[in-house]
C-alpha cells in the first residue's frame, strides 16, 4: 500500500511463524513452522475502521498481536505514525515502549477472561493510569468515572467485580480500560463474538460512537461478515496466512473478485426466507498451516482453479482503484460486465 499522509498504521511484509517442537525433556527437536502469517502488507488510514476477515486459523489475530507486539513478528516492518514500532518494541526502551502502548490498545475477544476476577472494575480501569501516570493521581478517580459513563455504565458499577456483570457489560469495561490512556488506535479482536445476539448491536454502536467522538482508528478482526459490513470502512480478506483481497466495504460486498471472498459471502445465512441464495460450497477444509499448499494457498479448494494457480503465487495487485486482489483467475466482475 502506498504511504499517504493520513496513514496511521502501515504493515509491510509481516511474517509470523510459530515453531513446532517435538515433546522432549531437555532438548527439543524442531519439527516445522506454523505459517500463521506470511508476508502480509496493508495500511490503515486515520479515523478508519479496517476489517480483517477470515476463518479460524487464517492468521488475523496473529496480525493484531504482532502489531501490538504481544507476539514478536518473525520478520517484516510495522510503522505507526511513520515510526518503525517493531524496532522500538524490540529495543525495549521503557519510556518509548510505554509511549507506544498508550497510543495503541487492544480489545480482547472474550470479556469473560480478559478481566482479572480479583479486581474491582475501578481497579481494572485505573490500572492503565497507574502504569502510565500520564495524569496526576488526584484525577484518577474522576477519570475512571468519566470513562465508565462514556461506555454507558453507571458510577456504582465501579465497586463491583467482573463476575457480577453480563458479557456485554464486561465488554464495556474492557473498552473503558482501553480508552483510559486516550489511544489513537485500537485493535478489536472479535469484540462481539462471545456476546448474546441481542447485546451485540449495543457494543457495535458504542464502538462507532466512540470513533466519531474521539477520532479513534480501529483494526476490527472478525469472522462474522455481517458485523464487518456494518462497522468497517475497508476490509481485507485473509486465507491461510495471506491477504487475498482488500477493498472498500461496499465494493468488496457488492463486487467481490476473489473466489474465496465470493464463497465466504455466499456462505452466510441471510435472515430472509424468500432469499434462497445460491451457495458456493467449498469442498474440503482449510489445509494445515504447517504445510500450506504451494503457490496460491486457496487453489486446492478453488472453484476457478487454473493450471498456473498451483505453480505461481499470485501477487496482491491493485486491479481497480482501491481494490487489491491476489488471484490469477478472479470471479467475473459484476461491474465490468454491466
Amino acid at each position: 500500500m502506498t504511504l499517504t499522509p493520513e496513514t496511521v498504521l502501515e504493515v509491510k511484509e509481516l511474517t509470523k511463524h510459530f515453531p513446532v517442537y517435538e515433546r522432549g525433556v531437555i532438548l527439543r527437536r524442531k519439527l516445522g513452522d506454523v505459517h500463521a502469517v506470511d508476508e502480509v502488507s496493508f495500511g490503515i488510514r486515520k479515523n478508519e475502521t479496517f476489517g480483517l476477515v477470515g476463518e479460524s486459523g487464517c492468521g488475523k489475530t496473529t496480525i493484531a498481536k504482532c502489531v501490538l507486539y504481544l507476539e514478536p513478528p518473525t520478520s517484516g516492518k510495522i510503522f505507526f505514525n511513520g515510526k518503525n514500532i517493531t524496532e522500538i518494541f524490540k529495543e525495549g526502551k521503557k519510556d518509548l515502549v510505554l509511549a507506544l502502548r498508550r497510543q495503541m490498545q487492544y480489545i480482547f475477544q472474550n470479556p469473560y477472561s480478559s478481566l482479572d476476577p480479583r479486581m474491582t472494575v475501578a481497579d481494572i480501569i485505573m490500572e492503565p493510569l497507574e502504569v502510565h501516570k500520564h495524569i496526576p493521581r488526584s484525577q484518577w478517580q474522576n477519570r475512571m468515572y468519566e470513562l465508565l459513563r462514556m461506555v454507558g455504565l453507571e458510577d456504582y458499577h465501579a465497586e463491583r467485580y467482573p463476575h457480577e456483570f453480563s458479557g456485554g457489560q464486561r465488554q464495556r469495561v474492557c473498552i473503558a480500560r482501553a480508552l483510559a490512556v486516550d489511544p489513537q488506535f485500537i485493535a478489536a479482536d472479535e469484540p462481539v463474538a462471545s456476546l448474546d445476539v441481542s447485546v451485540r448491536a449495543q457494543i457495535l454502536n458504542l464502538l462507532q460512537e466512540l470513533q466519531q467522538k474521539l477520532g479513534i482508528t480501529y483494526l476490527y478482526i472478525s469472522h462474522d461478515l455481517s458485523t464487518v459490513r456494518h462497522i468497517c470502512h475497508r476490509v481485507a480478506v485473509m486465507y491461510l496466512g495471506k491477504i487475498v483481497e482488500i477493498a472498500e466495504t461496499d465494493e468488496l460486498f457488492e463486487n467481490p473478485l476473489h473466489p474465496y471472498t465470493v464463497a465466504l459471502l455466499s456462505a452466510i445465512p441471510v435472515p430472509d426466507p424468500r432469499k434462497k441464495t445460491h451457495r458456493i460450497i467449498l469442498p474440503g477444509e482449510v489445509p494445515s498451516p504447517v504445510n500450506p499448499p504451494p503457490a496460491c494457498r486457496f487453489h486446492p479448494r478453488c472453484p476457478r482453479r487454473i493450471d498456473i494457480c498451483s505453480k505461481v503465487e499470485p501477487p496482491l495487485l491493485e486491479v481497480r482503484p482501491g481494490h487489491w486482489l491476489a488471484c490469477h483467475n478472479p470471479w467475473p466482475s459484476k461491474r465490468l460486465a454491466s
Partner: protein, 316 residues
C-alpha cells in the same frame, strides 16, 4: 452444563443498584458456610486454637507437674504413675506421673508451631519456585522443575530421619530444639506444592487479562504480584491448610520413632515416652494419638472445604 452455569452466573448480575460489592472471597465464604463438613473442620481447628491460646486455663495442672510429688499438684501425696483414667486425671497419668490430659493441652501449642512453622517454610519455597517456573517458563522452568523432581523422587521420610539423626550427632547442642525439626520438615515438603502452584500459574497466565495487562504496558513485577499471585492465592491457601495437617503428622511420626527433639513437649514425643509402657498404661500413648488424629482431621476437612469453596471452576 454451560447454560445452567451461565444462569447461575446471571443471578449475581442484576443486584439492586448501589448494592455493595461482592468479592470472590466473600462468595467463597458464603459457599464455605454452606458446607457443614468444612465448618466442622473449622470448629475443630478453632477449639484447638483456644486450647493453645489459653492452655493454662484449659489444663488441670501446671506443665510438667508430677502428680503427688510436685508442690503444685500434691493430691493425696502418693505418686500417681501410670494410673488409669479417673476423677482427678480424666485421661490417666503417664510413667513419670504427669497428667496425660494436661500434657496434651500443653502440646497443642507445639503442634501449631510445627504445623504453621513447617508449612510457612514449605509454602515460601513452593510459591517462589512455582511462580518463577510458571511465569518465566523456558530454561528457568526447566531447571526448577527438574530440581523439584529430584526432591520428589527422594524418599522424603527416610531422608528426614537420616538428616535428623546426622544433625543430632553432629550438633548435640541443637538436639533439644524443635525448630530443627520444623526446619527439616519444611525444607523437604515443598515439591508437591511447587508443582501444583506452577500448574495453576501456567493456567492463569494464559488468560487474556494477563495479555491485557501486558498490553497496557505493565511490568513483569506488576503482572506477577498484582495479577498472577492473587489469582493463585486460593490454591496456596488450600495447599497450606492441608500441609499443616501433613506436617503435624510427620512430626508425630518422627518423634514416635525417637528422632524428634527430646526436650520438646509434642504429642509425638508424649507417645514416644509412653510407648514402652503401653501394656500397663495404654492411655499414655493412645490419647495423644487421638488428638493428633483430631487435629489432622480438622485441618483436612477445612482444607477440602476450602478447595470446594475456592475452586474457580465453580465460578464461571
Amino acid at each position: 452444563m454451560t447454560s445452567d452455569r451461565k444462569m447461575a452466573q446471571t443471578t449475581l448480575e442484576q443486584r439492586p443498584a448501589g448494592g455493595h460489592r461482592v468479592s470472590q472471597w466473600a462468595l467463597a465464604w458464603r459457599r464455605l458456610k454452606k458446607n457443614k463438613v468444612a465448618i466442622a473442620g473449622l470448629g475443630i481447628v478453632g477449639i484447638f486454637i483456644v486450647m493453645a491460646a489459653f492452655d493454662r486455663l484449659v489444663a488441670l495442672y501446671p506443665p510438667k507437674c508430677i502428680l503427688g510429688v510436685s508442690p503444685a499438684c500434691q493430691l493425696d501425696g502418693r505418686l500417681h504413675s501410670n494410673s488409669p483414667p479417673g476423677l482427678a486425671y480424666p485421661l490417666g497419668t503417664d510413667i513419670t506421673g504427669y497428667d496425660v490430659y494436661s500434657e496434651i493441652v500443653y502440646g497443642t501449642r507445639a503442634a501449631f508451631l510445627i504445623g504453621v512453622g513447617a508449612t510457612g517454610l514449605t509454602m515460601l519455597i513452593a510459591v517462589v519456585i512455582g511462580l518463577a517456573a510458571g511465569y518465566f517458563g523456558g530454561w528457568m522452568d526447566n531447571l526448577l522443575m527438574r530440581l523439584t523432581e529430584v526432591f520428589l523422587v527422594i524418599p522424603f521420610f527416610l531422608l528426614l530421619l537420616v538428616f535428623l539423626q546426622v544433625t543430632i550427632k553432629l550438633a548435640p547442642a541443637n538436639t533439644g530444639s524443635i525448630w530443627l525439626v520444623v526446619f527439616v520438615i519444611g525444607a523437604f515438603s515443598w515439591p508437591g506444592a511447587a508443582r501444583i502452584i506452577r500448574g495453576e500459574v501456567l493456567r492463569v497466565r494464559e488468560f487474556e487479562f494477563i495479555a491485557a495487562s501486558r498490553q497496557i504496558g505493565a511490568s513483569s513485577y506488576r503482572i506477577l504480584f498484582r495479577h498472577l499471585f492473587p489469582n493463585v492465592l486460593h490454591i496456596i491457601i488450600v495447599l497450606a491448610t492441608l500441609q499443616i495437617a501433613a506436617s503435624i503428622l510427620t512430626e508425630a511420626a518422627v518423634s514416635f520413632l525417637g528422632f524428634g527433639a527430646p526436650g520438646s513437649n509434642t504429642w509425638g514425643q508424649q507417645m514416644y515416652n509412653s510407648a514402652n509402657y503401653v501394656e500397663q498404661a495404654w492411655w499414655g500413648t493412645l490419647f495423644p494419638a487421638v488428638f493428633v488424629t483430631l487435629m489432622v482431621m480438622g485441618f483436612n476437612l477445612l482444607g477440602n472445604g476450602l478447595r470446594d469453596a475456592l475452586d474457580p471452576r465453580l465460578r464461571e
